[in-house]
């Protein structure tokens, strides 16, 4: 497929190690004279303010709807301020709509996937960035090429495979296919190619350290910040993944997005219950964004294709 349209520069990085220490871990250090340096005018602030409102309002309104009751939600004009029923609606969603079980399932699924992706992506990223082996460039292009394969295409055989393994409706069916991602491998490669000096690896080699030991005592300490970012981004994706979990899981054992479809499919549609479920399913990620927003932003930007 159109692998070659992906503009990835795979040239080897400069052999000398970057000397300047970063001012703060995990934060992008800008080139001194790159990018535009204009100051924002009032118009820019207004437009950005509108964007922020549009971005946040649907979630705010989710909270408003989740805190009122069904009749109040359906009135015109729609409510704009929170009502008194937030906690009781959240509790109802937790108990009646199996959101509790769904949250636990999502936590397991996203946690395992994020952990294994970080481990395997760092191993592979290290190999692609710093180890010499036959076919390295071709294999790396292959990894990038796999990003172009739409995951939905194989869904029928995958489903058959899982029912043969006896995994349909079980969490392993969701976990195994996404144990590691091409994006993750590429992300770690890009980081390590720059941040890990070749000399360090070679010196360790001369000292007789084997590859796994180099990985453990040299690569891991350097790679900690991008590993944390990759963990969070993978967690978000796994938590929100919809198509495959929807196909292979059922309502007795759902992840959060799967459980949410059940909420909206009931015969008696209780809008504030639906919104309470939606809010509950989003809260963990929102909390993560509140605490680690800076790292996630810088991680997404660092993983971007540039130039």
């Amino acid at each position: 497929m159109t692998t070659d349209s992906l503009p990835v520069r795979t040239a080897t990085p400069p052999r000398t190690a970057p000397k300047k220490p970063a001012p703060r871990t995990g934060r992008r250090l800008l080139r001194p004279r790159a990018g535009r340096q204009h100051h924002a005018g009032p118009l820019a602030y207004i437009l950005l303010g509108i964007t922020a409102i549009v971005s946040i309002f649907p979630l705010y309104w989710t909270m408003v709807a989740a805190s009122t009751d069904n009749t109040r939600v359906s009135q015109t004009p729609p409510p704009l301020l929170p009502g008194p029923n937030l906690l009781s609606n959240l509790a109802r969603a937790w108990n009646e709509a199996a959101m509790g079980k769904a949250m636990l399932n999502s936590l397991i699924v996203a946690g395992v996937i994020a952990l294994s992706t970080v481990l395997f992506a760092t191993l592979a990223g290290f190999a692609f960035a710093k180890l010499r082996f036959k076919g390295r460039n071709v294999l790396l292009m292959l990894v990038i090429g796999t990003m172009m394969v739409p995951p939905q295409l194989g869904v029928v055989p995958l489903f058959m495979m899982m029912s043969e393994l006896g995994w349909s409706q079980e969490l392993p069916a969701v976990i195994f296919p996404t144990l590691v991602s091409a994006v993750g491998v590429f992300f770690m490669r890009q980081y390590l190619a720059e941040a890990l000096p070749d000399e360090l690896v070679e010196a360790a080699r001369v000292d007789g350290a084997h590859s796994l030991r180099i990985f453990w005592s040299i690569v891991l300490p350097v790679a900690r910040p991008p590993m944390a970012v990759l963990f969070m981004i993978t967690f978000v994706h796994a938590w929100n993944d919809f198509f495959w979990p929807f196909v292979v899981l059922d309502m007795t054992n759902p992840t959060v997005p799967v459980a949410l479809t059940q909420l909206s499919a009931g015969y008696i549609r209780d809008q504030s219950l639906i919104m309470a479920g939606a809010l509950l399913g989003t809260l963990p990620l929102l909390a993560m964004f509140l605490v680690f927003g800076r790292q996630i932003v810088s991680g997404i930007m660092a993983g971007a294709v540039k130039g």
Binding site: R28, T76, M147, F176, A195, D207, I300
Partner: protein, 331 residues
């Protein structure tokens, strides 16, 4: 490649390699064979997990899909595969639902991708200014990305509700007639596109922003000296400067658009939404694939739809290539 450098250089040198204590030198002289095996074999061992997972859960299913598409397989009896040759493909070709779904996928794809990327470009430009609270604005634009398809689609379904939805209420305030967002074809497709746009604009904007920050300042200075206006600088320096990122986002969002599933499904109110509305007015290929396989129990048909999706994707990229080539020839 990322331009940021030396992110985590703090004090790694100290912890560099040291020989094992007690003079136990397991260096190359002692075990040359093991060492060579390690140097040669370890890289493959390190990348193996990725390729094993990909082969087992992506590549094999992908290839096997084509084999299944030549059979009649029912969901309840997955072991029984009856060879039917190209019957599934012929049936699909003659099925008006398929053409409807393909057209819907294409129109929703354009409706969601084009505004999304244009808005992202504008947003990235704004975020690139020096300003107070830039981190807040960046995180705020990323909030929709943290919202799952399920939650986002549920909220938007309510906002687009015909009778008490906030959007029709706002339409009423400015004197417009209420729109029947779910039942009418184009409003439904626009509403679904709005969910996609909302979720992905901020994410794409950050990718663009990262690329914009890598453009050397001299290029702007040179353009300014040449008397280029701000707008000219944007179109002649910024956009060409982030070209490859733009291509990257086009590729990714095109792939996303061909597979659109969750948004229309939930917009159609849950598992009964697989038909994409009462008249299939917003049924995408993803929904059709699911409907054939898991509602009509025809896995062979479902696999055929998957291949058709793949073909559509290839066609879109070929068309893109062709346009590019024609354009570069004319310019």
């Amino acid at each position: 490649m990322a331009t940021s450098t030396s992110k985590a250089q703090t004090g790694q040198g100290r912890r560099g390699p040291s020989r094992a204590p007690g003079g136990e030198d397991t260096g190359p002289r002692r075990v040359p064979l093991l060492h060579r095996l390690d140097v040669k074999g370890a890289p493959y061992a390190f990348i193996a997990p990725f390729f094993v997972v990909f082969a087992a859960f992506s590549f094999y299913p992908l290839v096997y899909t084509s084999w299944i598409s030549l059979h009649r397989v029912e969901l309840a009896t997955l072991d029984l595969m009856e060879w039917v040759g190209f019957d599934n493909y012929i049936a699909l070709w003659n099925d008006s639902r398929f053409w409807n779904a393909a057209a819907n996928t294409l129109t929703i794809g354009v409706l969601s991708t084009v505004p999304q990327l244009l808005l992202a470009l504008g947003l990235a430009h704004l975020l690139n200014y020096k300003m107070r609270g830039s981190l807040f604005f960046r995180i705020a634009s990323l909030v929709p990305y943290a919202t799952s398809v399920g939650a986002a689609a549920l909220v938007f379904t309510m906002l687009f509700e015909r009778d008490f939805g906030m959007i029709n209420w706002a339409f009423g305030l400015v004197g417009l007639d209420p729109v029947n967002w779910e039942a009418d074809k184009w409003p439904a497709q626009a509403a679904i596109s709005a969910i996609v746009i909302w979720r992905w604009t901020g994410y794409n904007a950050l990718l663009y922003l990262a690329a914009m920050q890598a453009i050397p300042a001299e290029r702007y200075e040179a353009a300014a000296i040449d008397g280029a206006s701000r707008w000219k600088q944007f179109t002649h320096v910024t956009v060409p400067g982030i070209r490859s990122t733009i291509v990257f986002t086009i590729v990714l969002s095109t792939i996303g658009a061909t597979q659109l599933f969750g948004e229309p499904l939930i917009f159609g109110q849950g598992p009964n939404g697989v038909t994409g509305g009462a008249d299939n007015q917003y049924q995408t290929l993803g929904l059709l694939l699911y409907e054939e396989g898991w509602k009509n129990y025809q896995m062979g048909r479902s696999a055929t739809v998957a291949w058709a999706m793949f073909l559509l994707l290839v066609l879109v990229f070929l068309a893109h290539r062709l346009i590019q080539r024609l354009r570069s020839r004319t310019s």
